[in-house]
Symmetry: C2
Subunit: 275 residues, 2 copies
């Protein structure tokens, strides 16, 4: 949708024919292909906008069909697994691959929930690998600018995965553990009191526990080492705070809490300045 | 403010004379007392609206001055420590004490940020102790209804403290640990990437880490056993999720995440139905 009238001929494929038709009729595509293989065989640039397991599968399926010298990218929220699969499937077919990760999205999915302004003001990570060529990297950057991405940032796949594990993925594990701890009790009366007693503090801290379980399973499954690192870091910090409370070192606890507040407040200010 | 023209003669004391005067002039009080002891000596009902350490201090200071047969309550967010202090300071002076905890508040403080609608639609916990009498308990319930509280719930102090530890207090420790883990790094480039990479997921999950450190130190300090229990429960649940990821039991992880989502979604629906 966001590439409309930006100088691209857009060939699209989705699994269900009715979706392909609707995308074509609504002007989100210039041409609908019957198969993925057919679509990629005619493309200068291929973009996989699929769940992570499907990206891996389609890299294999389409490997014999990409045009030599063409650029392939994806939009998955993990990059190491995908770049490794690309290197395995596409070397040495003369196909250029770079992972992408636009930092934009909603909790919704499906054609009905798509809108062209999604990428406006967001950044995108590009994760070059052994299959990447500089000329194609610039083409990719222009593609992302064309859909509205404000800035592209180049990062190696492992550093990317460690970063998103800390800034996004591990938060979902923590929020889920909170929901499971707070809202459950063996005692039905206690559970009822918990339901009554939770308010905006719980609502916000646990919000992302209401995310899509299958999607987050796929993300964690494909970014396990970085998530375990992030979890370990978090558990260590929590234990550190707990020990201060256990020892009665409330001055220390208050000092740490104040430091966390200062860090977060500076982050909020940093984000506001970038608006 | 909320008791204005509800049939009460309101005598108030605050530490600073200028605040007492402003409260009187604005109509929030009918009478301003020079000292706390003077105010309580003339009261049928005394309400302590103070930080927790000050509630404890003023229970001691005012103990010889309350009118025998009068009712004393407080509004602190922990009840065990306060009820025990009341029992220690007021037995057997013939003074009736019941703790209160209105589930209402903002992150702001001070006279300038007070408004009479604060209690509208909120519930209040009442925590009877050995000093409580049924007749006075009903008077207290009428007092809270008069300021706009929708429903009063009687709970013993220990059950109350365990409940608020789980539904509110422990969330602040978790949010603080998250902020301290995610926004800090020994590597300045990594720290810059973390700042850039955090978005709405981090913003919401860590929001309450920006709360007032002194206030939350006081709450944790005065509700330590319940908070350590809640922390232990949370850490166990997080460890349970981590072990599934470590073992590659992603089906199990997805099942637990789905259960957490279901619990939270049912809580959201429960809250919406009560609006």
């Amino acid at each position: 949708m966001a590439l409309k009238e930006k100088g691209f001929h857009r060939i699209g494929w989705a699994r269900r024919p009715e979706v392909r038709l609707r995308a074509l009729e609504s002007g989100a595509l210039d041409e609908a292909a019957e198969t993925a293989e057919e679509a990629v065989s005619r493309a200068d640039i291929t973009v996989f906008a699929l769940p992570i397991p499907q990206i891996l599968r389609f890299l294999d399926l389409c490997a014999p069909h990409f045009r030599p010298g063409s650029l392939v990218t994806d939009m998955g929220s993990v990059k190491g697994v995908i770049c490794r699969k690309a290197e395995e499937a596409l070397t040495p077919r003369g196909i250029v691959f770079t992972g992408s990760h636009p930092m934009a999205g909603t909790e919704k999915s499906g054609f009905d929930n798509a809108f062209p302004e999604l990428y406006g003001n967001a950044d995108a990570f590009l994760t070059p690998c052994s299959l990447t060529k500089e000329s194609h990297l610039q083409t990719l950057e222009e593609l992302w600018k064309a859909v509205g991405i404000r800035k592209t940032v180049r990062l190696d796949p492992e550093t990317h995965d460690d970063l998103v594990a800390h800034t996004s993925h591990v938060l979902h594990i923590v929020a889920s553990a909170l929901a499971l701890t707070i809202l459950e009790s063996d005692d039905p009366e206690e559970k009822a009191r918990r339901f009554a007693g939770c308010a905006t503090g719980f609502r916000d801290t646990s919000r992302i526990a209401s995310s899509n379980p299958a999607m987050w399973r796929e993300i964690i499954e494909n970014n396990t080492p970085a998530n375990l690192t992030a979890l370990k870091n978090f558990e260590e910090k929590l234990r550190f705070l707990r020990k201060m409370i256990e020892k009665g070192d409330y001055d220390g606890f208050e000092r740490e809490f104040a430091r966390g507040k200062e860090l977060r407040d500076s982050w909020v200010a940093y984000k506001a300045a970038r608006m």
